[in-house]
Structure formats: C-alpha cells, structure tokens
Symmetry: C2
Subunit: 374 residues, 2 copies
C-alpha cells in the first residue's frame, strides 16, 4: 500500500512535489507534520484536526508505551482507532526521548545544562539497547531495536522508525564513530524485525553522522543499501540553521530521489523555506503548536504575539484570508482577552490557526515548486 510518487522536480533546486500513498490515505509533499505526543495535539482534538486538512501526524512511541501501553492500543484495534484518526500517522522509535533524557536537548547542552535534569534517567546503554527509568513512575524499562519495532507494530502507525542511538551534541570523534557504527547496527536489527513482522507499515531509516560530511555520506550509503521505504534526517543537526543546511547538503544528494525524505524535529518557517530546496518532503515539529500556546500565531511567513497590548482593540481576525475555525469566528481582541484571562480555549483557538496556517504555507510551497519558483 505504501508508495512515493514523484510528481515534479524543480528546475531550480532539489525541491520536489510528490505524494506519499499510505493505508490511511495520501500525504501531499512537501508537508508539515504536527506532533501529538500522547496521540493528540496539545489542546486540539483529532476530530477537529481532521477538519484542518492535516495529512500526517507524528506520535511518540515512548509516551504511548508508558501510557496507555501498546497492548491497550492494540486491543483497541490500533492507534488510528484508539485515537480516532483516519488519516496517516508516523511514530518514532522512542530512542530520541530516551537519549534526550540522558543528554538533555542541544539547547540545554549549549548552555552546559546537558546532564543536570537527567541524572539517573538512563541506567545503561550497551549493544543490546537502553535501560532507563520511566518518567511517569520510575519503573525500570528497556528499549532495544527489536522491542521498539514490536511496540510500533502494536501501535500500527502507517510509517515507523528504526531504533537509533543519538550521541550527545558535544561528543569527541571516537565516541561519535562508535555511536555511528552502533546506530546503523541497531537500524539493521530494527529493519529485520520489521520485515519479519509484516503489518502494512513503511519504515524510514534515520540518516546519522552529525556535522561530519563523510559520516553523513557513509550513513546514506549504508542505509540506501537496505530495504527501507524512506529516509529521515536525524542525529545531531547542529546548533543553528547554518549547521542544519550544511547537514542537509551532505545528505539529500546521496539519497535516491524515488524515496520520501523526512526532517526530524524541525519545522520553523525559515528552515522549511530552505529545507524544501534540499529535497526534504516532510517536516515534523511541535514548534507551531507550542508557539500557539504562548500566543504566537502565524500570518504568512510572519508571527504576531496576541498578548501584545496593541491587539486589545483589534477587532479583526488573525488573518482575514484564513478559513480556519478561529479566523472565521474570532477577533484578535477577543483572543488577546482569552490569553490575558488564561482561558484554556485560547490555546485551542491559537493552535487551530497555526496548524491551518502551516497547511496553507505548505500548499503555497507546493505551488511554488510546481511553478519552478523554488
């Protein structure tokens, strides 16, 4: 059922327009993929999300495995039925969450806060996998490539991701090399488990190698030799957008054009605008939804902060050209008031708008590529 259809290759860059066919429908690419960590976006339910033309949703295996548990989701008939979403879903492997617990985020590493909050969360990393403490109840859990894939089989997303090792951003060359070798062994084990347990799912490899050009090339080589259905750019993507674009320039030219490419965890507007020119097809990030909950909403490629006092008497919608629930019903003045009064519906309404704005943005990008403007 899974198929990537390349519809148009821009004459001006690696940008392309395509269609990913999945058991739960089509994803037009390039596209934005919102994150529903626990099987739902923060503050927007899945039936409402379905009205926003969101074609792919990202869920986190780590969180869903801790609650409600993959067995419950399987009993419900799989993730789509459990969360009431009839459109495509992608799950990650849980690796990113486990290793973020161990090392903290790149941002906190850059502030030298890397290991502070995470003491004792990860107990042991060896060839087999990772032992860690559940953030929910402190229970000791283990994730291995095989276990991660079997959990993702139970969940039943349309696209799944192999279990990989994420080295910390600050990592010496030797450790990086060791981690690099292991992460590819783990991905091979993940793929084997995936192929041995067919369930109408596609698996995307995760390209590693940090900021090292030759490692990125080597990763592409190793992974394209295996039977993956697509490629995600992961591992360390650097500390800023210049680093990111460097990484992308080291990856996508080495990936076959007949397979879809996903950028893991990044979907701000500048990164998308440039990212598509490297031939990235899908971008996931919780940024648009998190920004919304802080009152930051998108108008074209710009952002406005609804809590600013200048909106107190602005009786126009966020974006008069937007057809979302929020812009069809509410003014900036009322949304300003809802944020000031800490009303929960403020978060819902701003998130609905940002998702719709991202969908509009991606549709515009597809149009630009079709016209060879990008």
């Amino acid at each position: 059922m899974f198929k990537f259809e390349l519809l148009h290759q821009s004459k001006r860059s690696q940008a392309r327009v395509g269609r990913i066919h999945t058991p739960h429908g089509v994803i037009d690419t390039p596209n934005y993929v919102p994150v529903g960590t626990n099987g739902v976006l923060k503050a927007v339910d899945n039936a409402m999300l379905a009205t926003l033309n969101c074609q792919l949703m990202f869920c986190n295996t780590y969180h869903l495995a801790l609650h409600p548990g993959a067995d419950i989701v399987e009993k419900a008939g799989g993730l789509h039925r459990y969360i009431a979403r009839n459109q495509p879903i992608i799950t990650d492997s849980g690796g990113f969450q486990v290793f973020s617990l161990a090392y903290g985020s790149v941002a906190s590493e850059l502030k030298s806060q890397g290991l502070k909050k995470s003491d004792n969360a990860v107990l042991k990393i060896n060839e087999s996998g990772v032992k860690f403490r559940s953030y929910r109840d402190g229970q000791i859990m283990e994730l291995t490539p095989e276990k991660s894939v079997l959990l993702q089989k139970q969940l039943g997303a349309d696209i799944i991701i192999p279990f990989d090792e994420l080295p910390p951003f600050h990592c010496d060359a030797l450790s990086l090399k060791r981690s690099f070798a292991r992460t590819h062994r783990w991905q091979k084990r993940s793929l084997d488990t995936h192929l041995k347990n067919p369930k109408n799912q596609a698996m995307y490899a995760v390209v590693h190698g940090g900021l090292d050009q030759s490692l990125r090339q080597k990763s592409c080589q190793i992974l394209t030799d295996l039977a993956f259905d697509g490629f995600a750019i992961g591992g360390s993507l650097g500390k800023n957008r210049d680093d990111l674009f460097q990484v992308l320039s080291h990856c996508t030219p080495n990936l076959p054009s007949a397979f879809p490419r996903h950028l893991l965890g990044i979907a701000d507007i500048p990164s998308i605008n440039r990212g598509v020119t490297f031939g990235i097809d899908t971008f996931d990030s919780c940024y648009p939804t998190k920004a919304a909950r802080h009152g930051v909403v998108f108008v074209g490629d710009e952002k406005i902060k609804l809590t600013a006092s200048r909106f107190k008497e602005d009786f126009t919608p966020i974006d008069p050209s937007c057809t979302c629930w929020t812009c069809q019903h509410y003014t900036k003045a009322f949304l300003h008031h809802l944020f000031k009064a800490h009303e929960p519906s403020a978060y819902t309404l701003a998130t609905i708008h940002n998702i719709k704005a991202m969908m509009n943005k991606m549709a515009a990008i597809r149009e630009q590529i079709l016209n060879d403007e990008l």
Copy 2:
C-alpha cells in the same frame, strides 16, 4: 423584544414549560445556563458551544469589567459581537463576586474559612456601594447599583441583574434585616438606572431573605411591585438541598406566573429535578463544566469518573445514545488516557459532553412536564 410565554403548567406541581423571547433568540424553559465567566466557558469556545444547542449563557460582569473592560466590549459592538455568540446572554451585577471575596463561599464559611483568604479585598461597604481591590492588579475599584447597571449596559447582555448586597451565611438577625432593606434599595436604584437607559435588555430582580420565610415573602412582595421582567432566587440559599427547597417553597408561590424565574448558581441534577417542581425556569452553575474538567461526566442522571481504571479498556463512548462531538468520536478508554496524560483536550471533550448531557436532560424534563409527569 423580551417576552415570557407560558406554554404549559403541570397539573402535578408548579413545574411549567415556557419560552423566553430575547433579542438574540428563544430560550426554551426549563433550561440549564452554563457559566462563561470571562465570556467563554472553560475549555469550550463559543462557536463550539453554539453547536450544542445551548440557549442561554451566563457571564460575569465583575470579571469582564476588570478585563477587557466594559469600554472595550462596547467598542467591539457589545458582548455578543465581542465573544462571537449570537444566542442569548445573561450577566450578573458583580455583587456576588465582590461579596464572595469579602465573606468567602458558603462552603468555606461552613468550614470557618470565611474571612481568611479575603483579607482586605473589600475595603468599604456603605449605602452608596462597595469599594474593593481588583483581584487582578490590586487597584481600588467601586461598584454601586448605578455603576453595575451602566457596566451591564455597556456589555449589552439580553438579561441583566440589579446590584444586590449579599449578607454572609452566618449573620445575626439584625444584620440580616439591615442588609435585606439595603439590598432592596439597591435593586430599586438599579432598576431606575436600567429604565433611564433603555437598551433592549430585560432586568431580573433578585429575591432575598435567606432562610427566613417571612423575609422571602416580603422580598417577593417588594420586587413584584416594581417593573422587573423576571425574578432570580438569590441571597443565601442555605447549606444543603433541604435548605434550598425550603427557600424555593417560600419564594415561587409568591411570584407571578407570567414572569420567568431563575435560580442563581445551582444546577446539579438533584436540585434541577426538584427545582423545576417549584416552577424554576432557568438554572445557572459552573458545576457541570467544572466536574468535566475533573473527569466527571454525566450519563442520564448518573455520573462516572473517567479516570477510574475500569475505563482503561472501555472502547465505547461515554453515552452511546449521545450525539455530542465527544461521544460521536471518542471512547472512554481514549478519554481516560487523555486525562491520565493531562492533555488539555481532555477538559474540552468532557465539557462538551456534559453541556450536551445537560441540554438533553433539560429537553427530557420539558417533555415530562408537558406530559404532566412532574
């Protein structure tokens, strides 16, 4: 434009079915009135509320006057336009909030916590009105009958309420008598201000007198002699349901049947079931929405707690016969998970159901009364 139409008087009690006509449409009675303190229900936006057939919404003048301010609402074209609600709205006078600040709730008074949290909130109460500190920024503010009504004129709800004095629940007979006299003088001043500033609004009087039968009778007498459009039962309603039903039995027989009657601040199912038999037409309370946010949802006259572990694998809707957004899309198992994961959409989805359940309950009650079963 305001008119109360009595459609049917039960042969078995004072229960009746009617229709309140307002500038923004009809309210079928008896009915439940959800509370949107800041111009919106907690976690459910007004456009969504409109799909739930909610015919009257209660907003708090005190909160709206502090933010965004009645002037902003007036500039927007009134409360209906500001909050994007095209159906009827009722505002209170702000008195209840100010005096609750001073005395605490009945519940906290019963636990002898009455005056603790409220130190210094109310600075001065005299014949003119009340001086108090804003809970938002500590600014000193004054509410008088005239000011409260003019604020409600600026807001522009369909039904408004005179500024009244609420005595504390524990109050000696002399203080109660003094407060009783003053609250009626304040209501008269409120009505005068209302009539001098016509704006297509109706004003309901507030019947006072605490648990004292003769005071309740006297209050009805005083207020029915004035040009009010309806009657709200207010003041102290006692410490339990027996007290409440006593109070109602002292009030409604003394009110003319041609006018609508509202019960202030109470709308639990047992109180509604019995309250309608005293001829109460509308009930407001934040209980159904607050219960929802604690995972307590209504099924018929029963309640279930979605966080109970027995719902972890219950793949059926809250109420299979319910047509609400929540029951049409989601299972109890998924809602259980959303509550356990502290997902904000849990509060939204449970609230949507409880509002719809209340609307269904009230429709069933109207049917029972039409059939003389109540």
